[in-house]
């Protein structure tokens, strides 16, 4: 863990907030796992278990006006960005009170209020969108940062290279965040990439890059501050590879034949919540009663979200074709 001294922001209140944010994601998704086995949630569901430090370290550093593009392992990003947990849970139930009107589900959370431009189920599909969002802001003379989250699997896609090149070529304020959890679904990184030191790929497009221990929320936050500052001021893209590990399967229905249990057990003690809790305790920044209080607050929020989703309603079938196109009349002839 990074030394306490050179971390000016390490107030107790901020540390507990980081801790709570991670617990919030972990418990939320743990409940989702249970609800999925009870057939309340269907479709694909990809959990963030073990990678929470990345979302909690990066997203709070953004401004309200900044924009986020995520992929399908997106619950943590949405929750930390401020998409209401009630709306997220309702969306996973497929209820119309969900943040995408129940139409997207776990992989397609959208929220205009927080500039959360959705998950994307096509690997690498979000990268060009992020470039475009930054291009628009660039042409409108703004100074926002667009953060684009993707996994190590995406670096093999053509769009990854096209997007990095466009961002560098046109000087666009995109923070590319690669959540490298060592597996592209069932394929270990070494079996799909000739160069496994992913952050080195950014150099081909002259994009500043660094790798950070994705299990250390404080380290991730420090890197995020540097990266976001650089992007906003230099008006250039930045590449941040967060090295992490996912403790659960790729998605719900995955026998994980590609790795054995000992490897998972070896990573468990290194997961961000356990590490951060240990670090907080050794630095006397957390009191014994903090943890149960935080967990109670989080579990109460989750219970409320579930009740909200249970009470949610199904979008009427008659609305099936609404919003395929905009409903405002288009001025045809002028």
């Amino acid at each position: 863990m990074t030394a306490l001294a050179d971390k000016p922001h390490l107030s107790r209140e901020h540390m507990l907030d980081l801790f709570k944010q991670m617990i919030r994601i972990r418990h939320f998704e743990d409940k989702c796992y249970e609800l999925y086995t009870q057939e309340k949630i269907r479709g694909f569901m990809h959990l963030y278990d073990g990678e929470e430090a990345i979302a909690v370290g990066i997203i709070p550093v953004l401004e309200k006006r900044d924009r986020i593009v995520s992929a399908y392992r997106e619950h943590g990003h949405a929750l930390v960005r401020g998409v209401p947990m009630t709306a997220v849970m309702a969306e996973m139930y497929g209820k119309q009170e969900g943040c995408s009107r129940g139409r997207g589900g776990s992989m397609h959370l959208f929220d205009r209020a927080t500039n959360f431009h959705g998950g994307n189920a096509i690997v690498g599909g979000g990268l060009p969108l992020a470039v475009g969002l930054a291009l628009a802001d660039h042409m409108q003379g703004g100074d926002i940062v667009v953060v684009c989250f993707f996994g190590d699997g995406a670096v093999a896609e053509g769009e990854f290279h096209e997007s990095l090149n466009l961002a560098a070529l046109w000087g666009l304020s995109v923070l590319f965040v690669c959540e490298n959890n060592l597996y592209g679904m069932g394929t270990a990184l070494a079996l799909s990439e000739s160069e496994t030191d992913i952050q080195r790929k950014a150099a081909c497009y002259r994009i500043a890059a660094e790798a950070v221990d994705g299990m250390d929320v404080v380290a991730v936050e420090a890197a995020a501050r540097r990266a976001i500052h650089a992007v906003r001021n230099n008006r250039k893209p930045y590449f941040l590879e967060c090295r992490t590990y996912r403790l659960r399967a790729h998605s719900m229905f995955d026998a994980q034949l590609y790795r054995d249990r000992t490897e998972i057990e070896a990573w468990r003690p290194k997961e961000p919540i356990i590490r951060f809790q240990g670090w907080l305790q050794s630095n006397h920044m957390i009191h014994p009663e903090d943890i149960p209080r935080i967990e109670a607050e989080v579990d109460a929020e989750i219970a409320e979200a579930i009740a909200f989703a249970e009470a949610g309603t199904w979008e009427p079938v008659e609305h099936l074709t609404r919003f395929v196109y905009a409903e405002s009349a288009v001025p045809a002839d002028r």
Partner: protein, 335 residues
């Protein structure tokens, strides 16, 4: 350049110049509008449509892109989501296949899937069709594929008036609009009102009224169909020629009104017959005007082969006026 015919207020202009004027006019009128595509700037466009615009409007608004169709099309979508009104030029429909995922899974889908929180007011222009001996990979006509996609609109300007007028209306549309420009039309010149402006993009047009048979077509095939109608007229057959203009949504009302009158229809479509736009139009006629039909619906489409390089084979592949005349006569039970 256009010759100004002061007296009657019309100008003689080529289809290419009409498209260029539409782009220039849009960029000048709305600072959210910019053009993005391969070789559209310094090179002036591979069909010289955007020649001169780079010098006049600058690199920000006439933006050359690397050969990354998926990348810059996705960027166009992202920019549109964030308040811009981009015009993405995919050089030809043949290269648009690399961007089909972005067009289908993002552009066409986001409004519906986001519960109407995000729209994609984007225009994508691309050349289409065969006829320049560019062989199979450069001669596709896939408007029918795109007209299949829920969430986008698809246009086929066949006249200089539509080439000049459709772009602005499309840019004002809150949803993605694809505009297909047939390669054989760029050099065609025609009359245009000097002050020509935006036109509607949801109605078909009766280009030639007639009583005996409805010839329904779009884009590059319109002019071959009009030639066929002239030949038929010499034999006493009055054919009505319908220019679809919009391939999605289709203007059923105009089609059915024509078929109800003539009781016969032949559809001319440069796509391959199987699963073509012609198949869709034909099915709609059967659904909505069955009891008016006095003959089976005819189709004149491309032969189902990769378009060959030699011109005699290329001409044999794509619809031509004689084939249209023959199909019309067959429908009329005439030799």
């Amino acid at each position: 350049m256009q010759q100004e015919t002061a007296r009657s207020g019309t100008i003689e202009i080529t289809y290419r110049e009409a498209v260029r004027e539409a782009i220039r006019d849009a960029i000048k009128r709305d600072n959210r509008v910019f053009l993005m595509g391969e070789d559209v700037g310094r090179y002036g466009g591979c069909y010289a449509v955007t020649k001169g615009l780079f010098a006049e409007l600058g690199p920000e608004r006439i933006r050359d892109t690397p050969l990354s169709e998926s990348g810059f099309t996705g960027a166009g979508i992202g920019a549109a989501m964030a308040g811009m009104r981009p015009i993405v030029e995919l050089m030809t429909v043949n290269f648009s296949l690399l961007a089909l995922d972005q067009i289908l899974n993002n552009a066409a889908t986001i409004r519906h899937m986001s519960g109407n929180q995000f729209g994609v007011p984007l225009v994508i222009r691309m050349a289409t069709g065969a006829g320049r001996q560019l062989a199979a990979q450069h001669s596709h006509s896939l408007e029918g594929w795109y007209a299949h996609i829920a969430g986008i609109k698809v246009l086929a300007p066949a006249t200089v008036e539509d080439a000049r007028g459709m772009l602005w209306t499309a840019l004002e549309d809150p949803d993605p609009v694809l505009i297909f420009e047939n390669v054989m039309l760029y050099n065609m010149s025609g009359k245009l009102a000097a002050d020509a402006g935006p036109v509607n993009i949801d109605k078909a047009a009766v280009r030639r009224p007639g009583r005996d048979i409805s010839l329904i077509t779009y884009g590059g095939s319109l002019w071959k169909t009009l030639d066929a109608a002239t030949t038929l007229a010499a034999e006493g057959i009055e054919a009505e020629v319908i220019d679809l203009r919009s391939l999605r949504p289709l203007d059923d009302a105009t089609i059915m009104a024509s078929v109800a009158k003539t009781r016969r229809a032949v559809i001319i479509d440069e796509g391959w017959r199987s699963g073509s736009l012609a198949a869709e139009v034909g099915m709609r006629i059967v659904e909505q005007a069955f009891w008016a039909l006095d003959a089976p619906i005819g189709r004149v489409c491309s032969e189902e082969v990769p378009v060959p390089y030699p011109s005699h084979l290329e001409n044999a592949t794509i619809p031509q006026a004689p084939k249209i005349v023959a199909a019309a006569k067959a429908a009329l039970g005439r030799p």
